[in-house]
């Protein structure tokens, strides 16, 4: 049963990830990313990380992907076919390097952990209380730093996306 659920979500994640990198229409690629993220969230649940799975769905698919969709619609990007033909050599070199990287990573994980039994899930590990205690004691400083980083990112994004003269229009309408 567990194997079946794992295979389902693993296959879903891989197939939709391939769709993300291969689809020419950015809106479809973004929607495929939603499928990948939800599948990975389900795998987080299976690994005993319900809080992270929730965050993944809320933050990634709820906030980041919506941001992507907004920008795609704001920029009104046409499909990639309209631009210059792709460099075939670069594409094949990238795919070749991808296979080399895949071989290295698979070999690494397989040699390091082949046959290792998974640890039984303890109550401590799924406990949100323990995660929160760790976050607010040992990792307090990084936590505050992340807050500062997010503030800086929000200010930077606002400044960058603003028109210099302060008028609010969509980017495409500028030259009219």
């Amino acid at each position: 049963m567990e194997l079946f659920v794992f295979s389902l979500f693993a296959l879903g994640a891989l197939v939709s990830a391939l769709a993300v990198v291969s689809h020419r229409n950015p809106v479809y690629a973004t929607m495929s990313l939603v499928v990948t993220l939800v599948c990975v969230a389900a795998l987080f649940l299976m690994l005993g990380a319900p809080f992270i799975a929730t965050l993944q769905v809320l933050i990634y698919t709820g906030a980041i992907v919506v941001l992507f969709l907004f920008v795609i619609m704001l920029l009104n990007i046409q499909r990639e076919e309209h631009s210059a033909p792709s460099g075939g050599a670069q594409r094949w070199a990238a795919i070749l390097m991808g296979f080399v990287l895949a071989g290295l990573l698979f070999g690494l994980f397989w040699r390091a952990h082949a046959g290792a039994e998974i640890q039984p899930l303890t109550e401590d590990q799924v406990s949100l209380t323990r995660l929160a205690r760790l976050l607010f004691t040992e990792y307090m400083l990084p936590f505050q730093a992340i807050g500062l980083l997010l503030l800086a990112a929000v200010v930077a994004a606002t400044v960058l996306a603003r028109r210099p003269d302060g008028r609010i229009t969509a980017p495409g309408e500028e030259s009219k």
């Binding site: 990313l33 990380a49 290792a116 998974i118 996306a161």
Partner: protein
Amino acid sequence: MIVPATWYMLLAAGLFVIGTIGALTRRNGISIFLSIELMLNAVNLLLIAYSRQLGDLTGQVIVFFVLAVAAAEAAVGLALFIAIFRHGHTIDVNRMNLMRW
């Protein structure tokens, strides 16, 4: 049958490689960004798998931080794309040559 953590690690490696290939081959800036999000997610999966395998919650804390950094990165990156699009009316990375000498 209980699924060993190694399988999750192999899946994470597969997702990471797909993301890498996407980031290297796509020319649309948004698609490159999507590929980078995919790579970040693969690393998150690997961290959670190791957190389970080693029985250590630190992995989950780090995933929390990675999520926050990914959000900040997406916000700033997309704002940059909007600014670039205003100048050149394209986000094709082959045509961005503002800083190329």
